[in-house]
């Protein structure tokens, strides 16, 4: 059982280190302008009433 616990701790620790490491590295290298983009398309909502009618 001790071996299983050690394997569990090892896998989880490695996973967390990789995850946190990647996030920190990625955040540092990401340009602020590339974080999120919003695209807006406005149209007249009256036309959507028959949207699902064939």
């Amino acid at each position: 059982m001790l071996t299983t616990k050690i394997i569990w701790l090892l896998i989880v620790s490695v996973s967390l280190v990789v995850l946190i490491g990647y996030i920190l590295y990625h955040e540092e290298n990401q340009l602020s302008g590339h974080r999120h983009h919003f695209v807006e398309i406005d149209h007249n909502d009256n036309f959507t009433d028959d949207d699902d009618v064939e």
Binding site: V39, I41, E54
Partner: protein
């Protein structure tokens, strides 16, 4: 001002290519075949044309027929490999309405399509991750897990979903991603068995991989089947089945590594 695409300035081949690209992205981001067909017919009216759609497992083919001259043009394209996104789906549907209302010229529509498919990301990934973690923990509770089991599932989902995002952004094959994420989540989800912190470890382990289940492809395959798009329905169903198989392999590997004998 109302714009039509039926004048000679708009080449039917270009319009056909635009429709194919549009349909390719609609299909890739999780729209049903019926929805794509409706949207294309709506836009085709502006070009005074009718459109026919053939959807194959990896490709899409479109035939555009001019209502006045009867001239037909064809175009085919590989289905876009993009993550399922209802945001892009919605924006593309709005774009089709914008075109149908005559508010947008053909070059602007092409630009708008490119903008939508390359830059549209409205949801904060951290917010999505938080909601996925909450939802999966709630699943654990629904299946009878206690608060400790829910905490284990939340942790397993957080790490697994984080890995899923990272691996997918690195363009690793989606089947490999599902297998790895299922394995990691199941390993963390087995904490109940390893450290005896919950009386319901089997619920924690079972629900730790539920966030990976490809629900939208399964639902879309049924919807496509109901609307007589059998080929696309089978294709989507097989894809979803393969992903579910990868989840099962990852889960089984975690059972073996953690020496868990449930069955």
């Amino acid at each position: 001002m109302t714009t039509t695409w039926s004048d000679r300035q708009c080449d039917k081949n270009d319009i056909c290519r635009f429709f194919t690209r549009y349909a390719s992205y609609m299909l890739g981001c999780g729209a049903t075949c019926q929805r794509i067909g409706i949207n294309l017919q709506r836009m085709a009216k502006v070009a005074d044309s009718t459109v026919d759609l053939i959807i194959l497992p990896s490709h899409i083919m479109i035939t555009l027929v001019d209502n006045q001259t009867g001239q037909a043009c064809h175009h085919s394209e590989t289905i876009a490999k993009v993550p399922i996104s209802y945001e892009i789906n919605t924006l593309l549907s709005k774009l089709s309405w914008k075109i149908a209302e005559g508010d947008i010229s053909f070059p602007s529509a092409v630009d708008m399509l490119e903008r939508v498919v390359t830059t549209a990301r409205s949801l904060n990934p951290w917010g999505v991750m938080f909601m996925v973690v909450l939802a999966n923990a709630a699943f654990c509770r629904l299946f009878g897990g206690d608060i400790h089991a829910m905490a284990i599932v939340a942790g397993a989902t957080l790490v697994g979903y984080g890995f899923k995002n990272i691996l997918l952004s690195c363009h690793i094959d989606v089947k490999v991603v599902f297998l790895l994420c299922s394995f990691i989540s199941a390993i963390i989800g087995s904490a109940g068995y390893i450290f005896h912190v919950t009386p319901t470890p089997e619920v924690a382990l079972g629900t730790s991989v539920l966030y990976l289940i490809p629900g939208i492809p399964y639902i879309n395959s049924i919807t496509d089947m109901m609307t007589n798009h059998y080929l696309c329905a089978c294709s989507r169903f097989m894809n979803a089945l393969l992903l579910t198989g990868c989840i099962a392999i990852g889960l089984t590997a975690a059972f073996l590594v953690m020496n868990i004998k449930i069955f």
